[in-house]
Symmetry: C2
Subunit: 364 residues, 2 copies
């Protein structure tokens, strides 16, 4: 076959995105084809920089050219990404491509740990990431990012006072912990807590983001309702531990997002504290909190299972020291990276197949 | 000395209650003295059936008689108890002698586990115990007591509809979990949740109780405020795990109870999940969540330290199977029994030294 732009496109039209179930050309993912003697250059625009299929798609492109255009060409796909969104015409934060809530129902199962590490992994992949700590009564994000004593600036932008998020490890952060002293309790009824969240969404200068994560408090109450009433949420991730009392509450969180009037897509489930392995007995797995409960729940509700995270002392230490595991180079960081990739993938699939989420009307 | 009632009383007036720092006679703890030949009988009325000093006081009584009345007498103290109260004139639930809140700030640290086991241990000691599951969005008590499918009766008493608590293992229980299906989320704003708690306190037939425990949700919000505004709480117990993010939230819970307008005495602190010991390596302690953090916090705030509970798979299993550890006969049940005794002791000390708690006025 002659080496023309057209033939290259025809060849690449044979390559499927396995997730989106269409070919790269129809998906508008091929850009900037150029030919230089024996070398073929083009850009593949993936739906997320954290795409777990990046290498697969790259190799498929090379194979398709070799097969359909000629085996002797040198093929140089330039793998980039442009995170997809269903929010570009949203009235609030249209420059934030995806808003992802992290929920659990039960307390202490690792929502904040997963949120922090997901944020780091996504940022490391090259995405622009923000993180809202929506736990007004038990904010963990300032500690987990070692910036407990930071105070966000407030600036006037277009005649309106806006909060400038704290930036740490390349991630934009906001938390009530930046605004109140650590040894004070925030003893507020729901409406006060809700108005803090509204400020974090409406009066904060998030700029352009690929992913804005919302680390939710336990339960299914004011903060959760205010969130879905303030902003259409792209999707939710469920974190659970394997035991019965945690699964029962995860089920409640799932039920909340599935309520017809709320209707936030559930993009995946993470099973945390899946088992403990002592350093001295690396082959032993202690299922302290039970075995496989998260996986079973994901099957029952047909939610993509994003993976297991073991109970590892260094994950807790990383949380307390403010240096998330995902920034290191060990087994835990790999587990979090895997989960981040799978989450990003599910977000892209959701954006390809579903319209934007609708904001919930205020009825209470 | 002659064997008379008076001389026996004089002898027993030498015996101090080490906690209340007064002698048993001034404390009105000696009843029903009788003499039968060589045998001396009397009743010692302790301030709680879970009194950890029971044996000590009994032996002190025998010694005091031997020393002051005569060494040849046979002494038979009958150790009983009458749980003390500062609530006997309270407008709501005056027949409930002590109302104890179990709080943590942080989620998932073991409030419900401690509440359930405390209830069982106190009941096993002979006390009349009730337990309110105040976690409206993540109720664990029905599972932890294996009565998820029970439905409380409603009866008309004096022209008013009252809820009859479920009774399990001799403990009266109420939970939103008895009133809603398990796979439904209770997605309520604060006022709805608060009114459920008000019903649990005001419209439930608790009868006479020595201890009514309230298992609080995480945070410091509506439920906590509604509790202190509805009923004067005798005291609070703080549960924490050792890591920094948990201690930070425990500190917030402590700060809440210490607020001058709330002012609920903090009776003790429990450090849960203190360390993990695998069965194969019983000498190893893995401080997965850190070491000694709970103890340090109790020192810093001068709160009685009630003890540590290790991270043990059987405690989690007991929670999931609805058969609290304290009902068994193992290391964990001993740990919970110890904590129950120390808690009961602190309640008695509080009642001896402080006036009743005042209800918080509704300002919000
Ligand atoms: N896989 C893990 N291994 C070890 N420790 C973990 C793991 N996941 C979380 N932790 C620790 O467990 C504790 C609870 O986790 P985290 O604070 O993330 O839970 P949460 O769901 O956000 O809690 P809350 O409901 O209070 O907001 C933290 O101290 C955290 O560091
Ligand atoms: N010492 C322990 N050893 C092993 N597992 C424990 C221990 N204490 C608690 N657990 C388990 O940990 C989980 C969390 O405990 P629990 O539900 O009592 O916490 P909580 O503070 O009431 O949580 P929430 O904030 O969600 O109400 C439960 O599955 C429980 O069985
Ligand atoms: Mg959290
Ligand atoms: Mg609980």
């Amino acid at each position: 076959m002659a080496i023309t732009q057209d033939n290259i496109l025809k060849a690449l039209a044979q390559v499927m995105d396995p997730d989106l179930k269409k070919d790269l050309v129809s998906l508008n993912m091929i850009k900037d084809i150029s030919i230089d003697g024996n070398a073929i250059y083009f850009t593949v625009v993936l739906t997320t920089p954290a795409c777990p299929l990046k290498e697969l798609i790259k190799n498929d492109c090379i194979d398709a050219i070799h097969k359909n255009v000629g085996a002797d060409f040198q093929v140089f796909p330039n793998m980039t990404s442009d995170v997809t969104s269903t929010r570009s015409t949203a009235p609030l934060l249209p420059n934030v491509k995806n808003i992802i809530a992290i929920a659990s129902g039960k307390g202490g199962v690792g929502k904040s740990t997963v949120s922090a590490n997901l944020a780091v992994s996504l940022a490391q992949s090259g995405a622009k990431v923000g993180l809202i700590d929506a736990d007004i009564f038990g904010p963990s994000i300032p500690t987990m990012f070692n910036c407990e004593h930071e105070q966000p600036e407030v600036k006037e932008i277009n005649g309106k006072n806006v909060i400038i998020p704290i930036e740490q490890y390349g991630i934009k952060l906001i938390s009530i912990g930046f605004l109140t002293p650590p040894d004070n309790a925030v003893v507020w009824r729901g409406p006060m807590a809700s108005s803090a969240l509204k400020q974090f969404l409406g009066d904060t200068d998030w700029g352009e983001l690929d992913y804005l994560l919302i680390d939710l408090p336990p339960g299914t109450s004011d903060i959760h309702l205010t969130m879905v009433q303030t902003i259409p949420v792209t999707g939710a991730l469920i974190v659970t531990t394997p035991q019965k009392v945690a699964l029962a509450d995860a089920q409640k969180a799932i039920a909340m997002f599935k309520q017809p009037q709320i209707n936030v897509p559930i993009l995946g489930l993470v099973e945390n504290m899946a088992y403990f392995t002592p350093e001295e007995l690396p082959e032993n797995k202690y299922f302290i909190f039970g075995e496989g409960g998260g996986y079973k729940l994901s099957e029952r509700y047909e939610i993509p299972f994003l993976g297991q995270i073991p109970l590892v002392q260094s994950i807790r230490e990383s949380g307390d020291s403010g240096y998330p595991s995902a920034m290191k180079n060990d087994v835990s960081s790999e587990a979090f990276e895997e989960i981040a990739k799978k989450a990003a993938r599910q977000i892209a699939i959701r954006n390809a197949n579903m319209a934007g989420t609708t904001k919930v009307e205020m009825t209470n």
